[in-house]
């Protein structure tokens, strides 16, 4: 077999010699520095570029696993960074709004951060990071720039438990902005609040703003509470009941104000 191959190659020696002489001619030719020869070299390199493809392909293949791992890590790092940036952006937005509220409010207020939610089974509550040392006492109103959140109940040195309006025992004296009627608002299990004992003769408009009444020792007057979405008759047909959607989304609050002085 090998003998046949060698014999075959010997039979073709004239052709091998031709290839050798052509290659030799090209080598000598490439020693010239003429532009024509440079162009020719470029064209020859183009023609024989395919010879490099397998090597490049194998190199690419061997790097693929490592490259994939690196890309995954990079992807994760960027995803985390992206989440962090989004968070910072949202926090920035909120703080800007609150700063604007704090500047324009006539109340003496203390900013605080929500550090926990619902730690006691007694009532729906949140924990904020201010306390006695910052001048907080029980029964102070807790609000945001959007409206009422609740009131302080247990005050520690640097933390305070706040009863929030979704607690079933929470009651709040409110008034309707247009009709000027007053009522008591309480939270309902259906995710909305109700204001009962509204006189039958009162005209309440859906969409009307509901504000704090000002008759409370805790809450300053005219703080937004929510908006009327429905008005209907009570079961005994003596009063009206207004369904109110609170203006504060209690699940998403992160910063609040404690009203130190009305």
């Amino acid at each position: 077999m090998w003998l046949k191959v060698i014999r075959f190659l010997i039979d073709l020696y004239e052709y091998f010699l031709l290839i050798l002489l052509i290659v030799l001619s090209f080598v000598i030719l490439s020693s010239n520095n003429n532009p024509q020869v440079r162009i020719l070299q470029g064209e020859i390199a183009d023609v024989f570029a395919f010879l490099h493809y397998p090597r490049v392909w194998i190199n690419d293949l061997s790097n693929l696993v490592h490259e994939n791992q690196e890309l995954k890590e990079e992807n994760l790092r960027l995803a985390l960074l992206n989440a962090q940036l989004k968070e910072s952006y949202l926090e920035n937005q909120r703080l800007r709004e609150m700063l604007n509220f704090a500047d324009t409010s006539l109340l003496t207020i203390l900013p605080a951060e929500v550090i926990n939610q619902g730690i006691t089974p007694l009532y729906n509550s949140i924990m904020i990071n201010v306390g006695n040392q910052q001048g907080v006492t029980p029964n102070m109103a807790v609000i945001t720039n959007k409206g009422v959140v609740g009131k302080t109940v247990s005050v520690g040195d640097n933390n305070t438990l706040v009863q929030i309006f979704v607690d079933v025992n929470f009651r709040l004296g409110v008034k309707f902005q247009i009709s000027r009627e007053y009522g008591i608002m309480r939270w309902q299990p259906n995710g909305l609040a109700e204001v009962r004992e509204i006189p039958k003769t009162a005209v309440i408009y859906p969409g009307e703003k509901v504000l704090t009444s000002g008759y409370s020792a805790i809450y300053p007057p005219n703080i937004t509470v929510g908006e009327v979405i429905d008005v209907h008759q009570s079961a005994n047909n003596l009063f009206q009941i207004a369904t109110v959607r609170p203006s504060v989304d209690i699940n998403s609050i992160e910063e609040v104000f404690v009203v130190l002085k009305k």
């Binding site: 020696y13 004239e14 010699l17 031709l18 002489l21 052509i22 030799l24 001619s25 090209f26 080598v27 000598i28 030719l29 490439s30 020693s31 010239n32 003429n34 532009p35 024509q36 020869v37 162009i39 020719l40 064209e43």
Partner: protein, 159 residues
């Protein structure tokens, strides 16, 4: 063997002198016959592929070195291929149709000039048609004319 080498060397020197002395005088609009190519083809026809290509390579290098070619290596390349091509016709004159035989000879001259001019005109804004009609074809005709005349007057050269 020695006599053959001597004869080839003598013919080579004569061809080089003719090319140097008569070449410029015979030039018509930049076109001149290539006596070295004629000699390469005669050697290929008489001695076969190996001698033809080796001689073509050697005489091509000499031609490039003494300034008869353009770049060093270009004539060597073209004449190596021409010598090999001529060697393919070795001992085939009687077996091949004369038209085919001479056609093949002309084809070798065409390939030789195609290589020379294609590389010479690299980077020059000239179309293939212009190159073929203005340079390659006249050069082929001029060289082939001398080639066939010499074959006619000195038939032993091609035997």
């Amino acid at each position: 063997m020695l006599k053959k080498v001597f004869l080839i060397t003598a013919f080579s020197l004569v061809a080089i002198f003719i090319q140097i002395l008569l070449g410029p005088w015979m030039t018509i609009r930049e076109i001149r016959p290539d006596f070295l190519l004629i000699l390469v083809m005669f050697i290929g026809l008489n001695q076969g592929k190996v001698s033809g290509q080796l001689y073509g390579f050697g005489i091509g290098l000499v031609a490039d070195a003494i300034g008869l070619g353009s770049f060093i290596g270009l004539s060597a390349l073209a004449k190596t291929i021409a010598g090999f091509g001529a060697g393919m016709l070795y001992r085939r004159r009687s077996r091949l149709n004369p038209v085919l035989f001479h056609g093949f000879e002309i084809l070798i001259i065409v390939i030789h000039y195609a290589i020379i001019y294609t590389i010479n005109f690299k980077g020059v804004d000239i179309s293939a048609q212009v190159m073929g009609l203005r340079y390659i074809l006249p050069s082929v005709i001029y060289t082939a004319l001398f080639y066939f005349v010499m074959q006619y007057f000195i038939p032993s050269l091609s035997e």
